[in-house]
Subunit: 403 residues, 2 copies
């Protein structure tokens, strides 16, 4: 008996609990689909269920237990199962009248193509996996809101293209054990997150060598493995530093890691240096303090800066989280923002407009970023040429750098 006809089987029974493995009806040589389907359907008791009345049916009403398959549709439509498959996928090969009949029946039975079967056969899953790395905050604290925003835009971009999105949080230190593409659960990967780039890079090279389809959000550099999409961090750093200079600040501290481990922050730093250079100002090493993208790190880095005893009249936090942490430290120490110290950030997370005073920062367009990431990944999957790209930053002026 076909599984879909097992009247005894409770609707949607969980296979793990009630294993069933009865042989399915076989086609005798020479027997046609019509007769097969009839035999399949004749065996069941049709006790109840949805009522279907399609054009070419022998009996005017019949029912199907359990999830209908394409064979059930085929029987009811009086066609072969492959024709059903073609019709449902919109193949132009199928006669329009036939197609409509099939679609109609499928709708009535609430038929859904089994994704596992179609993915297995076609070797395409219609799914993208998003791996979110969050090494700086391995605890259950809040995820960086910038990535949350990216997640939102990626989800929407996938949906618009008819792809599903698998979301997975990973420690950068993990082995990325659950390899979504190798297990055929996803056609490609989007990598998102902060962490030690040197560590990260090794894994990227591995992925690249394996031929995995992936794009990552992050610094765009020469000779990187794979495809990267990122903000033009250099330009953003330059723009906001120029803004601080234009507001009359000259002793601008930079809070952020400038090592190879954080190429994004490093690029922002290089932009900062260039802006100063353009203004004829030397970069004072004492005005740079390492920090990673968390509020606490920003807070600590400002205290470190204060302890150095160097004079400064402005802060450029390499990310909003750093800048907001620094603001907290400044306020605690009695500084007035922006009248005594100006503060600027980078990212334009939602919080930036709510802190007091509202934070002047650099917007990274997450919507565009999500679109680009998904588009480029799909290109990779289709073996089309893809190049790493940067998106343009945009200065968002609020009150933290003065009127």
């Amino acid at each position: 008996m076909s599984k879909s006809l097992l009247a005894e089987q409770p609707l949607r029974a969980v296979p793990a609990l009630k294993p069933i493995d009865t042989p399915k009806t076989c086609v005798e040589p020479g027997e046609d689909y019509r007769r097969l389907a009839e035999r399949r359907h004749a065996w069941s008791a049709w006790p109840d269920g949805d009522t279907v009345t399609g054009p070419p049916l022998r009996s005017s009403s019949m029912s199907i237990k359990g999830k209908p398959t394409s064979f059930d549709i085929a029987y009811l439509a009086g066609v072969s199962q492959p024709t059903v498959s073609r019709a449902l996928r919109g193949s132009p090969l199928v006669n329009e009248e036939t197609r409509n009949r099939i679609l109609d029946i499928a709708r009535q039975l609430n038929y859904k193509v089994d994704k596992n079967a179609s993915s297995l056969r076609s070797q395409q899953s219609g799914t993208i996996a998003l791996l979110l790395f969050e090494d700086p905050t391995p605890d259950d604290s809040h995820i960086n809101p910038f990535f949350l925003s990216m997640l939102g835009s990626i989800t929407r971009a996938c949906a618009r293209r008819g792809f599903d999105l698998l979301v997975s949080f990973q420690q950068l230190s993990n082995d990325w054990h659950r390899d979504y593409e190798d297990s055929n659960k996803a056609d490609g990967l989007i990598l998102l997150g902060y962490g030690d780039y040197l560590d990260y890079r090794e894994k990227l090279e591995k992925l690249s060598a394996q031929g995995t389809h992936f794009v990552r959000w992050g610094a765009v550099m020469e000779g990187q493995p794979g495809v990267s999409i990122g903000c033009d961090n250099y330009q953003g750093g330059l723009d906001i530093t120029a803004h601080l200079l234009a507001k009359g600040h000259t002793q601008i501290a930079f809070l952020g890691d400038t090592s190879e481990s954080c190429p994004e922050l490093r690029d922002r730093f290089l932009g900062y240096q260039q802006a100063l250079k353009n203004a004829g100002i030397d970069t004072a090493p004492a005005l740079q303090v390492d920090a990673i993208t968390t509020e606490n790190s920003g807070y600590e880095s400002l205290r470190e800066l204060l302890s150095r005893g160097v004079a400064f009249d402005a802060i450029f936090g390499a990310s909003d989280a750093i800048a907001i942490g620094a603001m907290r430290a400044l306020l605690e120490h009695g500084y007035k923002i922006p009248s005594e110290i100006a503060v600027a950030g980078f990212d334009d997370i939602p919080l930036a407009s709510y802190v007091n005073p509202p934070l002047t920062t650099v917007l990274q367009d997450t919507k565009q970023a999500g679109e680009l990431l998904v588009d480029n990944l799909l290109r990779l999957i289709h073996n089309e040429p893809v190049v790493s790209t940067t998106i343009a930053p945009r200065l968002i002026v609020r009150r933290s750098c003065g009127g």
Copy 2:
């Protein structure tokens, strides 16, 4: 030839572009797996690739092109393919030595079980789908941060249980067309989001009737279809209103929709009413203004309240978004918070601690909520008994209601 041995096929070619459908080697009756595997492997040229040296191999080094299958592992381990399958799933039936040999080879080949095949056969996907409804904000604006926080905790809860998470944004008005469970892409659904409950409820009943496994986050009420997990909104509303009363406020306005469409806000309102009653205070209808959970709606509702000309000394925003919008309106109108007007919210979104003054609110423990949602859904999937549950709210006292 087996697909995995097609030397001409480029590594990871995309099937859509290079369709290949060559027959696979057949077992002649009486022929054993060993011989089959040898024939399969003998056909290939072994030009290059990973080198494997397992214990019982004839040749000391051989390579496999493309993704290895369980048949490849079986050949190399000198066992049948089902034994490989058992060993990899940790079946106790497999001899330990055999298992280790198999695991070793699988590791060397970087073998990953094909999820589509295993899900198809076992009818279990090991995946949960999260449907996020966001009807009040159908544009590309920011997702409600409370749901983002839930998303994070749900993702982690799934990962801890070895489940993958499919994320999908839906309009409540949609037909939820892509039915993840019916297409066997997911074993169950988690529903999350705001929207008109009456609308929503219809769909829940449909899902329930179809036998879909789902749990939702939201108001827990008698006679609801399916399983709900939610905060004890009544208690939370009562607690925070009692707090406002204890701070000496007696004319407390409630901003939030109290209709059947928003049972969560309604429950908070009922708690608010009860707290006032306990204090011997009548609820003035003029002190209640409808609002949905967005900042703009909160802003507008406060302006509506002001236009009514009723006296009030405190605001209970039925959600943080509403409260924060109301704060903005109050500040614009020159009111001092909390000295002139106290403000309280509900949710404890990350922003709550950053607004000025920091917002006193009710915490909904998203971590616990995520765990409960996932646990209960898994119980449903395993046909274990499940009941709707509320989680306890927790008062978070900050400065917006006065010292």
